[in-house]
Amino acid sequence: MNNLKLIWWLALKDLKIEYRSRQAFLTTLFFAVLILIIFNFAFDPGSNATREASPGILWVALLFPGIIQLNRSFQSEVEEGTLQGIVLSPVDRGVFFLGKFMANWLFLVAIDMLILAAFVVFFNFTLSGGLLWVLLLMVLVGIGFTAVGTVFAAMVSNIRIREVLLPILLFPIIVPIILAAVNGTREVLIHNDFSTLFRWMQLLIAFDVIFLAAGFLVFDYVVGE
């Protein structure tokens, strides 16, 4: 079996489990919508200041709940003892990483699209082509977030305080992509400045490539042994 097929199979396994239980999906979605609503209570809805801050709110609502799924993705493997099975099977650890990454990333992008719709409604944005650029940002941010997050989620899966530990490890590392995401979104939705957007996208692509490669290389040290 070639590696691409293996990656897809591993991802499909996770997505199927998630599709059947829909546990993480609904929890994550609900949490994210909750954040969007709470921020509208916290700030003055409809005011210019809130509109100016809305890209930040959108990304808080995307990245904080994103932790839930990352934690779940290895927790179930540990509980069911399937992690050992995968580690013992003749699959390269890097391939296993990419499979996990793929499942988590597809999950995140699916959630992101729904949240974007809720965001447009709650913050009264007009439907425009700019939203497609935000979607592209979500795809790129998702890669970096999930690449680092998958490595860390595997590390904390056996630790008692994993729910707290994962965000503590992950958020300092992803500061660059938070900056790129928030500022890129602001350029598109509020300032209409595309040259700056492309600069942030370059940064995102660099981050994605570096940390996908890093995850692929270090995953061997994280699982197994």
Binding site: V148, V151, F152, M155, I159, R160, I161, L165, I168, L169, F171, P172, I173, V175, P176, I177, L179, A180, N183, T196, R199, W200, L203, A206, F207, I210, F211, A214, V218, Y221, V222, E225
Partner: protein, 242 residues
């Protein structure tokens, strides 16, 4: 062999404590010299006044913190290659001292910035914000270590986190620079050039902090080694009594 590991650990600990003992006199002399150059020898800055003297300690601590975090990275890489737990303890000791020095940087910075830049926290300065993120990353590193028990797994995970954290630093720096240059930079560095006496004071201070870091790091390293030896002995005693 019975207690072979702890014997080796105790041997390494003894060496590093002896090294610190050897460093004590030079460190003491350097410390006195650094205090003298910073407070008496270097002239008072004309615009900023006495508060500028904090600069010598600020920069000394900052340089040492970066050096310490480089050792966390290096220790992690060597551990993963050689699987000798000594390198993991070296990385841990470096991270501990690095976090302390970063804290010094983050505390002395605002004390200086308030009278000079008229702001406690200049978000516009990429050095300041990068140092803050650095502090977050290595505090997270220590929390990760803390939540894992003694053993090979903690060493492995810490090494991985230390490597990823170190790779991240240049990207953090770049992103924060872009973040602030896009919007107008409110605060610019005051174009004050340093007097030769100030440069000399700075060099002495950086040298002192570097030696101080090495001494503290070796002490912590010895402590970690003692700890692991004690752990192994206790284990051995438990096994014998069963």
């Amino acid at each position: 062999m019975w207690l072979a590991n702890s014997n080796r650990a105790l041997g390494s600990a003894r060496t590093s404590v002896r090294f610190v003992a050897w460093l004590l006199v030079p460190l003491y002399l350097l410390g006195v010299l650094a205090l003298y150059t910073a407070f008496i020898y270097a002239p008072t800055e004309r615009v900023m006044g006495e508060v500028q003297r904090i600069f010598y300690f600020h920069v000394g601590a900052a340089w040492t913190a970066f050096l310490a975090f480089f050792f966390v990275f290096l220790g992690g890489v060597i551990y993963l290659m050689r699987r000798n737990v000594f390198w993991d303890y070296l990385a841990a000791a470096s991270a501990e001292v690095g976090v302390i020095f970063t804290t010094i940087v983050l505390v002395t910075g605002p004390i200086w910035a308030r009278p000079v830049w008229n702001t406690w926290w200049p978000w516009g300065d990429p050095r300041v914000t990068t140092t803050l993120v650095l502090w977050l990353i290595y505090v997270a590193y220590l929390i990760l270590r803390n939540s894992l028990g003694e053993g090979e797994k903690r060493a492995r995970f810490s090494a991985v986190f230390g490597i990823i954290g170190f790779i991240d630093v240049p990207i953090v720096w770049l992103s924060i620079r872009w973040w602030r240059t896009i919007h107008p930079v409110v605060i610019t560095k005051t174009g004050a050039s340093l007097e030769p006496e100030m440069v000399q004071a700075l060099i002495v201070s950086v040298a002192t902090f570097t030696v101080f870091y090495i001494a503290l790091m070796c002490l912590r390293l010895a402590m970690h080694l003692h700890n692991s030896a004690a752990e192994e002995m206790a284990q051995a005693v438990r096994e014998r009594s069963e």
